[in-house]
Amino acid sequence: MERREGISKLLGRELYIDDVPMDRGLWGATVRSPSPRGRIREVRFSPDVNWDEFVVVDHRDIPGENHVWLIESDQPVLAADSVRHVHEPVVLLAHHSREMVHRAVRSVEVIVDPAPPVLDFRLPPGADGIQHGTDNVFSHIVIRKGDVDAALADAPVVIEGTYETGAQEHVYLENQGMVAWIDGDVVVVKGSLQCPYYVHAALTHGLGRAEDRVRVIQSPTGGGFGGKEEYPSVLALHVALLALKAGAPVKMIYDRPEDMAATTKRHPAWIRHRTGVDLDGRLLAQAVEVVFDGGAYVTLSPVVLSRGLIHAGGPYACDNVRIDGRAVLTNSVPFGAFRGFGAPQTIFAVERQMDKIAEELGMDPVELRRMNLIREGQSTATGQIIRDGADRLEVLDRALDLSAYREKQEEHARFNAAHEDLRRGVGLSTYFHGAGFTGGGEVHLSSVAKVEARPDGRIEVLTSNIEMGQGTLTIFTQIASESLGLEPDDVVIAEADTFRVPNSGPTVASRTVMVVGRLIEKACADLVAKLGDSDLRGPDLKQAIVDWYRKHSGGVLDGAARYEPPPGTSWDEDSYRGDAYGAFAWGACVVEVEVDLRTLGTRVLDVVAVQEVGKVLNELLARGQIQGGVVQAIGWALMEECVWSDGAMVNNQLTNYMIPTSDDVPPIRVDFLEAPYAHGTGGAKGIGELPVDGPAPAVAAAIEAATGTHPRVIPVTPERLMELYDGA
């Protein structure tokens, strides 16, 4: 079927938030902290500016609670007495002229009495660095299975390895942007966002308003990747505060440097593995320590950590596991949600560790994985028994076949012997990704989806899940039209407007199709049942709807469904035991690289990504998700490096923060295996994040095969490889 918004995007007709014209509106801008930590002594407004022309907002103008509603209430909407990171918002300005307001930002000086900042998350903070609790630890989680210490003591071989991954910027095409206006006694905020009800909750708390006096509308969103999960709550509060004080519409659009410097990124990670194995390579014990840099405020770090830890043992069976992880404070711009949500970091580490184990045992890394991959009936680190009918060995074998892995190894031996400057290598990773919220998250969300029939027989789907380029509008249309036997044109997807759509949860965690799609199916069934004949479909259904409206003047025919957990699942948050996710998707990735020993540049020559994601509902969209995720992971592995100074990104422009272009990635070969998941829409499991988990360790393994170096830290830039490779 045709992509719903495809033509309007192709023709440039889609109106993103900055394209929406404003009558009588003001432009908003943000004055930020120049300092990573300290007390605000003074905010000095230059006498050269006529401040009467400006709307000026600071923390005293906040009608509700001065914090951004999320897991903890530590992050202020606007700094009051002190700052904890460079670029922390302190004052907001608005003016009729965009140029004037941006110029005025430079005429406000935030003077900070500095305190010593904590900048390296890997080191324990000094006494004068403590800013959260007694130890700066935002969250500490331990997953325990079996007896790790005893198993390590008994293991014939214990192998240690330490791994690090860097921050990553989302680089969504559309920067963060919002408009706010006042409609009667309702504050309306419209903008680029993933989670309308997160923004709604943040506004009710921060503005101290009743739920029905705050309205949030999503505008067409040019990419999110998690970057528009929690940050839009901050921007929504800012733009709403300005609009309330101005009594006029206000628009705030970040430019690229501001967006890159001031908004969230993927958590940097430090991970240490101690693995006990027997001489055949069987995993006996996995002891894993994980530290994530949380940045200056808690934001989503505890849940990012949680997902990271659950994936930290990899898709392998091991009887004795201890995964001990912390997310810690630094005086850096807060880190946040990013596609994969902690799992790409921990999977990078465990996959590199598997390669290290193979090397130390003199084993083939493929066979080591084959031996240890979870079999049907075995359990994960949290004790979740995997019984999903998926064949993880077949996923591995398909990737080996499709990539001609063995043939490539032989071919590379010949190629490398014949070349002075060039080296080729191939690397592999196997991985998994849990779809939907972790543990009891989906139960807690208790999502609701609705469908509403229109008098002409069409069906409108109402959810708070949004399109951001990944295909929500199309796949929801497909799900509703297929479950009702209607044409795609008979399905309308409602704008994500909190005045109209129920809370079906955020558009995150690979949950949209698997969880919300299922609710749409059930809501459709609920609607049809109200017509008295559950078998009605297609033209008959349409006619029945038209007839219903003729009889029920003024009525509304609708259907709804609320989330229910799959039967037989259980999760204990305190002990971190049980069924962490309704389902895991499984993947294997093979990457071939060529390294130029004279420049130490790495080119990716071939990528094969094979995955088992339950049933594939729309192959074109699914392939797009895999390919896009692979590209993002290649960028993270090879070139995307955030450079920091005082906890702020200083290469915050696209001329020196490099993302891959189409010339940097080969055609990505994608294949699917299908083992339908009983509780997902049409058998589907989540797909959005899985593809980001596998490529980075496979890239590093391929570089290792090519050069004999052991990349443990990404990105593997030429400089970093030069340090590892002496003979350049």
Binding site: R32, V105, E420, R598, T599, N651, E719
Partner: protein, 333 residues
């Protein structure tokens, strides 16, 4: 951070159809004039509101400045010829493929379709402190932010820095120097011809300019002499990704062989100094020797002997050495 984007300050726009008219306008507006070619360097400056010219003179309608003509075994290339035209011209590809390769390495197809060879050689530096509007030496201030102790200077100079450590970003410039091209410069007062090697300005001479062009002058055409026609060429540009990226180090070379030995050679690097540099140290090692791996290495070592890396760009030394070595030996099959 505080730079204002997406809006241009107001200016008067002129669109002359002849070089003479353009030169009259340049003379009339002097320092307030801004010559616009493909616009790729210009619009960044204007949108960022860092440069605020009063009169923008769009050269796009001057047909006499565009095109490639064969000329006594050499070529004359109008300054407004697009990079795509240069890269794909049969005359260039046949006799001076070095220039074709260089033009082909600029940015992206879209940018090559719009960008001109004149603009490519005359463009300003990409030092991001300077481009970000910081009041550095080059912008008339009294500090170089890129050389400060905590500065980010991975992309900057290892050679020839004088207060400013920014590098020349042009991909075609080193090729033109290797080919001994002549730059034809006109003003209302007349014409002068400068060797490509002398066209680029050292900050030791004038820190605010990248080229010898005076405010009232235009680069109108580039003449490539027959001298290096169909010589042995080598071009390699190392960058962080394969497209849409400025050079970290580039080498462009032309060699004439005779009896298995190098009879004459010009080796030029860019991305390492404020101006593209002809590496005479390497050339003198090379001339009279066979073009092999060990001579290449010796020439490369000679070339970097005077290099002084900054905090974050020590990698450019082995990179420059290795590229010169490879230029001499040639690419592996």
């Amino acid at each position: 951070m505080a730079v204002i984007r997406d809006m241009m300050p107001a200016f008067e726009l002129f669109r002359p159809v002849s070089v003479d008219d353009a030169l009259q306008l340049m003379a009339r507006h002097g320092e307030a004039a801004w010559a616009l070619a493909g616009g790729l360097d210009t619009f960044d400056w204007l949108k960022d509101r860092i440069k605020r010219p009063e009169a923008v003179i769009d050269l796009g309608a001057i047909s006499e400045m565009r095109g490639i003509t064969a000329d006594r075994g050499g070529l004359t290339i109008g300054a407004m010829t697009t990079l795509t035209e240069v890269a794909t011209s049969p005359e260039v590809v046949e006799s001076f493929s070095l220039l074709s390769m260089a033009a082909f390495h600029v940015a992206t197809p879209q940018i090559r379709n719009q960008g001109t060879i004149g603009g490519n050689v005359a463009q300003d530096t990409r030092c991001w402190y300077y481009r970000g509007g910081w009041p550095c030496y080059r912008a008339g201030g009294n500090i170089c932010y890129a050389a400060a102790p905590k500065a980010m200077n991975r992309e900057h100079c290892i050679l020839g820095a004088k207060r400013c450590v920014a590098v020349n970003p042009s991909d075609t410039a080193p090729a033109l120097i290797a080919l001994d091209a002549q730059m034809v410069i006109r003003s209302a007062g007349g014409e002068r011809v400068v060797a490509a090697e002398d066209f680029f300005m050292s900050p030791a001479v004038d820190i605010t300019r990248m080229t010898v062009l005076e405010p009232d002058e235009l680069l109108t055409e580039i003449r490539i002499p027959e001298t290096w026609s169909r010589a042995r060429f080598y071009f390699e540009k190392v960058r962080d990704r394969q497209s849409w990226d400025f050079s970290l180090v580039t080498v462009a070379s032309a060699m004439r062989m005779s009896g298995g030995r190098v009879q004459d050679a010009r080796i030029v690097v860019n991305g390492v100094a404020p101006r593209p540099v002809r590496v005479t140290e390497a050339e003198s090692v090379l001339i009279g020797s066979p073009a092999n791996e060990s001579i290449g290495l010796a020439a490369g070592e000679a070339a970097i002997r005077r290099a002084k890396p900054l905090r974050h760009n020590d990698f450019k030394r082995p990179l420059m050495r290795n590229l010169i070595r490879r230029a001499i030996r040639g690419q592996e099959a």
